[in-house]
């Protein structure tokens, strides 16, 4: 079946088998290996990408379901070599150990911040419920998401949702290292 998708701003048209998974298509056809396969059973969230502006687990979506739709992967976040504020916050806050869960964590955190620009710790944790870190490095991941929320201009949360003004008030224990 022939599908046309826009991935990280570029349009692609390909012939795919209906059983091909979106994550397979991204990695094996388009070479977008920034999106990883973790658990392979839709538990871990490492393969999270955005489909028409909403986070999905790309190991549990058929490539044909994405026909005509827009996909953003971790590779589409940096702007001309400059890290996205979430990527920078993960770097600054040491929010990764082995790094395998990071692409999915960042893509899901971005989805969370689109809906809730200033989440408290509990809201970050429940927003990342579908993403597992096998290093158990959750403390700094939560810290990074809250730090990014403080820094992110509304435009960085993408233009496809109603924008809310960035609030400057953040709890004092979140500080940039």
């Amino acid at each position: 079946m022939r599908i046309t998708t826009t991935v990280d701003g570029t349009s692609y048209t390909d012939e795919v088998e209906p059983r091909m998974l979106l994550v397979q298509y991204l990695r094996e056809r388009l070479g977008k290996v920034g999106t990883v396969v973790g658990c392979d059973t839709s538990n871990c969230g490492a393969c999270t990408v955005h489909l028409d502006g909403q986070s999905v687990k790309s190991c549990s979506v058929l490539a044909v379901q994405a026909d005509g739709r827009e996909i953003t992967t971790i590779e589409g976040l940096a702007d001309d070599g400059e890290l996205h504020p979430l990527q920078q916050a993960f770097h600054d806050n040491h929010a990764l150990q082995c790094g395998f869960c990071t692409p999915g964590m960042i893509m899901q955190a971005l989805d969370l911040l689109k809906e809730n620009p200033d989440p408290d710790e509990d809201e970050v944790r429940s927003g990342l419920e579908g993403n597992l870190c096998r290093c158990t490095g959750y403390q700094n991941i939560v810290k990074a998401v809250r730090a990014a929320a403080e820094q992110m201009p509304s435009a960085a949360r993408q233009a496809d949702v109603p924008q809310e003004p960035v609030t400057a008030s953040m709890p004092s224990e979140v500080s940039q290292s």
Binding site: N43, T48, Q54, V64, E129
Partner: protein
Amino acid sequence: MIPAAFDYVVPASVDDAVRELHDAGEDAKVLAGGQSLLPVLRMRLAAPSKIIDIGRIPELKGIRDEGDHLVIGAATPHHEVQKNQLVRDHALLIALATETVADPQVRHLGTFGGALAHADPAGDLLAPALALDAVFVVAGMDGRHEIPASEFFVDYFTTALRPGELLLEVKVPKYTGWRAHYEKFNRVAQAWSICGVAAACRVDGGTIAEARVGLTNMSSVPVRARAVEQALVGQQATAEVIKAAASHAVDGTLPTSDGNADAEYREHLAKVLTERAVTAACS
């Protein structure tokens, strides 16, 4: 893990979907959001010859107000149901239970009707649908008809949908002003319910005027806890009354024993969670 090969069609209308289902026979599977089906296909627990993707049929999506009830399109994603103001105003129990389904990514694609038609006894939407007396509108080659929730769930992963029939929408009577709570017990984030209790109450001046309670994963199908409801109605919403009523939670249940819990533990959970759910729904 890659699914076995299948043919794939994307009907544009309900009529086309029903015709495809009829022509494909019993070996076809319907895909809405795919969040239950894809894992099953990938583990090769199922290998249908044809997948009929109903995810692009506009008629199956959205939530509307029809006077004394809401209509929720079968292919409406969980994320939309949980945020929808009509649902929050008139069927709060469904919004609250939907918030606990899986995780945000799954709720973006997974659908209300898909979860109900899948009929996993650990699924969180079955007990609320039963407790609120939802009505299922289905279509086949011989037309459309309605199935009450009390007849829809037949057994493990089995509904009253006949081969060739498609779930179109679910009618939910309005429970405007009712309070509600869904109490779910599981071991880890995003896990299936070991036991869950769906409670909706209408409290009038401290007295429980009406109560509806449904149980998740306490049988092969969702269970209506009618003995609990009867013990609540007409009583003051006190801790003693609710605790006494919750002791009836296991009446009519037939819980299974599995790796997560044995039947005796599930019965214990049902009573504890019912007390918590009703307390929250009365406060």
